[in-house]
């Protein structure tokens, strides 16, 4: 055990440096050119902070710390090496782990300190375990839905919001009682356990299309609970890290909600499934124009400018590498190919960008919605691969549509629209898309990966070799 005179001050200074490195880490993430430096800064900061903590004078036994660090590393390595398509569920899982850590530390601190807990301390400690607990089970549920271990459809029932809110009210009430009477230790287990139940109930009504918002929100909760823990432990480092994580999650949630034209409360309390019944009837009569890979290839190769709009369907079909081949062969023919990416395309913020970057598409070809919408009117072809609601013009015009007001990619402004889609079945949100019935729209029916592959084969000269 190390016990240098003044080691307290050394630890505090090390934490100060770590805090600065954390801020720089996120600062450098602003552009892909400096982003990897940001990771390095974060790693150095983390190593310093952990190293400094090991010098803490209160530590008398290193056995369990060593075991835990080794075990955590063994679990962490495979979690860092998952396939890029599995990143959303991995992220949800890591929110769960972070929240579990915070909840357990909070619980241990309570039993070490009770009943001598000042009111403010008990309030932040309650916030820590309540937010931590609901984030833990909520994130596990989200990970389960994303991994398709659990049904992805939203499960709703009458009075759901009332039930959920009442369940949440109980631990909050317990927290108030504990703040006033910290000696009532018996209440504490309930204050830990009930948020765990709430976490599950909170995610039950969430559908796959809402996942980007929900993951961001859980991210924010995880940060806030860590920040509360910083107050409990009197650790400025932890407060800063928690505040950074919390504000990151918050900003992402706001971006995601805006991209869906919905409020937080609407995402959390109004599952999409409830509003769709009106659109089913009239779809049968309308006519769509199907096309073959040959026709698609000839239109694409005659184009000057093509904008590809990827969606979750591309990820499901694992089509990103075929899309890269398409990108290469069209670029070789002198066609200007870019990608228009809606903020909520996929299952988490930035999901499509990562998949396309993985397939070696240069990131300067990836446009966000505003950039894409300014280019779409000049595009000869808008090619939609596995996206639906984010291209639905009803969001602009049909006040009765559940997605009315949602900002969309104006693919209907391109000269020709091509949609790769497995069938005419309605999309995840169950909303019909008038885009498919336009005269300029060609429907390319089939699996995204196979169909794109067929187009590529046509482009590169008939038979494959």
């Amino acid at each position: 055990m190390i016990n240098l005179p003044g080691s307290e001050h050394i630890i505090e200074l090390v934490y100060l440096v770590a805090t600065a490195l954390f801020v720089l880490s996120l600062r450098w993430l602003s552009s892909p050119a400096t982003a990897r430096r940001g990771v390095l800064a974060g790693e150095i900061g983390m190593a310093l902070a952990v190293g400094g903590t090991l010098l803490h004078h209160g530590i008398v036994d290193y056995k369990w710390i060593a075991v835990a660090l080794v075990l955590g590393t063994i679990i962490g390595i495979p979690l860092g090496k998952v396939a890029m398509t599995a990143v959303p569920q991995r992220t949800a899982l890591s929110h769960a782990f972070g929240a579990a850590c915070v909840t357990m530390v909070g619980t241990a601190e309570f039993y070490l300190r009770a009943p001598n807990i000042p009111k403010f301390m008990m309030s932040v400690l309650s916030m820590e375990v309540i937010l931590g607990g609901l984030t833990f089970t909520g994130s596990l549920m989200a990970a389960g839905k994303l991994q398709e271990l659990l049904p992805q459809r939203p499960i709703t029932y009458k009075g759901q919001n009332l039930v959920n809110l009442s369940v949440l009210a109980v631990p909050v009430a317990l927290a108030v009682m504990l703040v006033l009477h910290p000696a009532h230790k018996g209440l504490f287990p309930f204050m830990v356990f009930i948020p765990l139940v709430f976490g599950v109930l909170m995610i039950v009504p969430i559908g796959g299309a809402d996942m980007p918002t929900v993951i961001s929100l859980l991210n924010s909760y995880a940060g806030l609970s860590a920040m509360a823990m910083g107050f409990v432990l009197d650790s400025k480092l932890l407060i800063v890290a928690g505040a950074l994580d919390g504000s990151s999650g918050f900003i992402l949630s706001v971006i995601m909600s805006k991209a869906m034209n919905r409020s937080f409360t609407n995402v959390l309390f109004g599952a999409f499934g409830q509003v769709q019944a009106t659109v089913a009837g009239e779809t049968e009569a309308k006519i769509v124009r199907p096309a073959t890979p040959e026709e698609a290839a000839s239109i694409l190769s005659a184009a000057n400018k093509v904008l590809i709009v990827p969606g979750y369907g591309m990820a499901v079909a694992q089509a990103q590498h075929k899309v890269r081949e398409l990108f290469d062969s069209l670029t070789k023919k002198g066609v200007d190919v870019k990608f228009g990416i809606h903020a909520v395309a996929g299952r988490m913020p930035g999901h499509m960008n990562v998949l396309l970057a993985e397939a070696d598409i240069p990131y300067d070809k990836l446009l966000d919605m505003e950039q894409a919408n300014s280019e779409l009117p000049q595009a000869d072809v808008a090619l939609i691969i596995g996206a639906n609601d984010v291209t639905n013009p009803a969001a602009r015009t049909d006040t009765g549509s559940p997605i009315f007001g949602m900002p969309i990619l104006d693919v209907d402004k391109a000269r020709t629209v091509m949609v790769i889609k497995r069938s005419m079945a309605a999309g995840f949100a169950g909303i019909d898309n008038p885009l498919y019935y336009l005269d300029k729209t060609l429907m390319l029916f089939g699996d995204a990966k196979t169909f794109v592959g067929n187009i590529v084969r046509e482009l590169t000269g008939g038979g494959h070799g």
Binding site: F22, M46, V67, G242
Partner: protein, 98 residues
Amino acid sequence: MKADLITLLYVMMLAGFIGFEVIRRVSPLLHTPLMSLTNALDAIAVVGAIVLAGEKKSTLATVLGTIAVVAATSNIVGGFIITDRMLKMFKTSPAKKS
């Protein structure tokens, strides 16, 4: 209100503002790595868990602390690895052309 507490509140407020300004500038291209990186940084909660695991104050604290260190460490290791893997993939046009 104690001086310590008000200092902590100042730290929280300023960190919140810094976080907001810094993260607002992160390119939407990098929102996924942003989330995995902040997640790894958030696992700094490990410092609290390490102390609990090593203090030997009570069995409960040692057990919970140890599990918490495992959970946080796996986030640190996994979070940094995957963030770097993702960022490595982002290339500009002239950088690679086959």
